[in-house]
């Protein structure tokens, strides 16, 4: 692999954006995974798909339309879930299918923006402009700062909502704020891996990190490391192999997960063998 690719400006933008997005997604994803809302990211991405289609149809910048639809869907769904006590998986299914339905209807009405839609479906990080890179950096930075400021409260609420309420934490308000942040993160991350693979960026590094860690902080750091590694190696290898970067990034993270599972089971087997070794007199 030639180092020449590291001299290209578009590669710098892609790697910087990739690192920012993977840091943000892995941190938000940790809370989503532990709240048993792993597919919430997927649902938000599909809602954003409807927003992008609406934006393209109406002639509005598609990412802004995606932000509006994704954030408002997340808030509405959280309200419905709290008021009517509908289970998380059911609300995810509703959001996912309604976003997709809206997108498909608008595409069939417009009959003309399939190329634009494809770049959102599968990501186009190598084509990201300087302006977009700065927007990604700004939004990721803001999201990370908010998460760090609310870190303790979010961890506590994720661990036990009831206990957090008893400690005086305004759990419902915090949940609304969190879904808004998650919706923003999903829309930003669409540029890296696309709508169809966003949820894997949120879930896979965290599930891998949980296999090894004892503490929350340790898990967050490990997950962010896996995510950044997957993004950088994925982007570089996709250029060399001339394949879609989004797919490569997710594939690398899946390979890390597979290797981790293998290491974990090997370690468990060794432990078991040591324990059951007969005592020789």
């Amino acid at each position: 692999m030639s180092f020449e690719i590291l001299t290209y400006a578009f590669m710098h933008r892609a790697i910087v954006s990739g690192i920012a997005i993977s840091l943000m997604c892995s941190l938000i994803g940790l809370f989503l995974v532990l709240r048993k809302q792993s597919l919430f990211g997927d649902a938000l991405a599909h809602a954003a798909f409807g927003g992008i289609a609406a934006g393209l149809y109406l002639g509005v910048y598609p990412l802004w339309a995606a932000f509006v639809v994704s954030v408002s869907s997340a808030l509405a769904l959280t309200k419905i879930k709290q008021k009517f006590q509908i289970s998380s998986d059911a609300t995810v299914a509703i959001l996912l299918s309604s976003g997709l339905a809206m997108g498909v209807i608008l595409i069939s009405l417009a009959k003309g923006f399939t190329v634009d839609i494809f770049s959102f479906l599968f990501g186009s990080i190598l084509l990201v402009s300087l302006q977009n890179t700065l927007l990604i950096l700004g939004l990721c930075g803001a999201v990370l700062v908010i998460i760090l400021l609310l870190y303790r409260k979010l961890v506590y609420t994720t661990f036990s909502e009831e206990q957090a309420k008893v400690s005086g934490i305004p759990v419902e308000k915090l949940n609304y704020l969190f879904v808004v942040i998650a919706a923003i993160a999903v829309v930003i991350s669409m540029q890296l891996v696309g709508i169809l693979l966003t949820s894997s960026l949120i879930v896979v590094p965290n599930v891998t990190a949980i296999l090894f860690s004892r503490g929350f902080k340790q898990t967050a750091i490990l997950s962010m490391s896996f995510a950044v590694f997957s993004a950088v190696v994925g982007i570089l290898s996709s250029y060399v192999l001339n394949v879609a970067p989004g797919g490569m990034i997710v594939l690398i993270s899946i390979i890390i997960f597979g290797v981790s599972l293998g290491m974990k089971s090997l370690r468990a087997r060794n432990k078991f063998t040591r324990k059951t070794k007969p005592i020789v007199p």
Binding site: F159, V166, S167, R214, G215, K217
Partner: protein, 240 residues
């Protein structure tokens, strides 16, 4: 000094009464054992006291202040739930769980709390790797980390082996006698209530008795009605 005053507390779920005009108070340094069958309203009572249920009639005062007007009392309360519900694989160390209720990081406070429940050596372990009894002690440490004046425990030994249970009771006794923490504790274990509690409240939607422990354990009728073996029968009788 009265730390808690409950007057005519009435709660109903969709027209079915859960608590009916319950009135009692808790004095400083009391060790109050609340007994009653399943469905007697013990958890509902605690949920009201902790602000988890707000749709009730009557008044609840902590430190002389109505809890509808202020939630400041929560800072002075440590709460240990019946069975802490959390994901078994939740990646949090014992130290992280105990420190969750703190506003900032304070390792000394966390260490001191773990010391009180004899778990200081397990601080770096993952919470899910501990036994049920050890987990409950972690939740006591967590409840104590903010130096509360009152400790509320909702049937805290459910599903714990007898050895862990004895150790758990020993810790509660120390907290009340040596540290002067007021304890409000619901339990089905009348033997433990007899050993530990200074006062007893008998609850079965209404309050049948509230007074000093000796008085309750010398009252044959009450004792028969609330003894462990008859609690289920008693519940069904009320449920008819």
């Amino acid at each position: 000094m009265k730390l808690v005053e409950i007057e005519n507390l009435t709660v109903s779920y969709e027209g079915v009464s859960a608590l009916d005009k319950v009135t009692f108070s808790v004095e400083e340094k009391d060790f109050l054992g609340i007994i009653g069958p399943n469905g007697a309203g013990k958890t509902t009572l605690f949920s009201c006291m902790l602000g988890l249920i707000t749709n009730y009639n009557g008044t609840i005062k902590f430190f002389g202040k109505d809890i509808r007007k202020s939630v400041q009392h929560l800072k002075q309360i440590g709460y240990v739930p019946q069975k802490p519900v959390f994901e078994k694989n939740f990646p949090a160390t014992v130290e992280e769980v105990v420190g969750m209720s703190l506003n900032g990081q304070d390792k000394d406070k966390v260490d001191a709390s773990l010391q009180k429940v004899w778990l200081h050596e397990l601080g770096k372990r993952r919470i899910g790797d501990l036994s049920g009894g050890q987990q409950q002690r972690v939740f006591i440490a967590k409840a104590l980390v903010n130096d509360p004046q009152i400790l509320i425990l909702d049937e805290p030994v459910t599903g714990i082996d007898s050895q862990s249970m004895d150790f758990f009771y020993h810790i509660l006794d120390d907290l009340n006698r040596k540290e002067g923490i007021t304890i409000i504790w619901s339990s089905h274990d009348l033997d433990a209530v007899a050993k530990l509690a200074t006062k007893v409240a008998c609850l079965n939607r209404t309050l049948a008795f509230h007074g000093i422990s000796e008085e309750f354990f010398h009252n044959e009728d009450l004792l028969k009605m609330y003894s462990e073996s008859s609690m289920q029968l008693h519940m069904h009788k009320h449920g008819d």
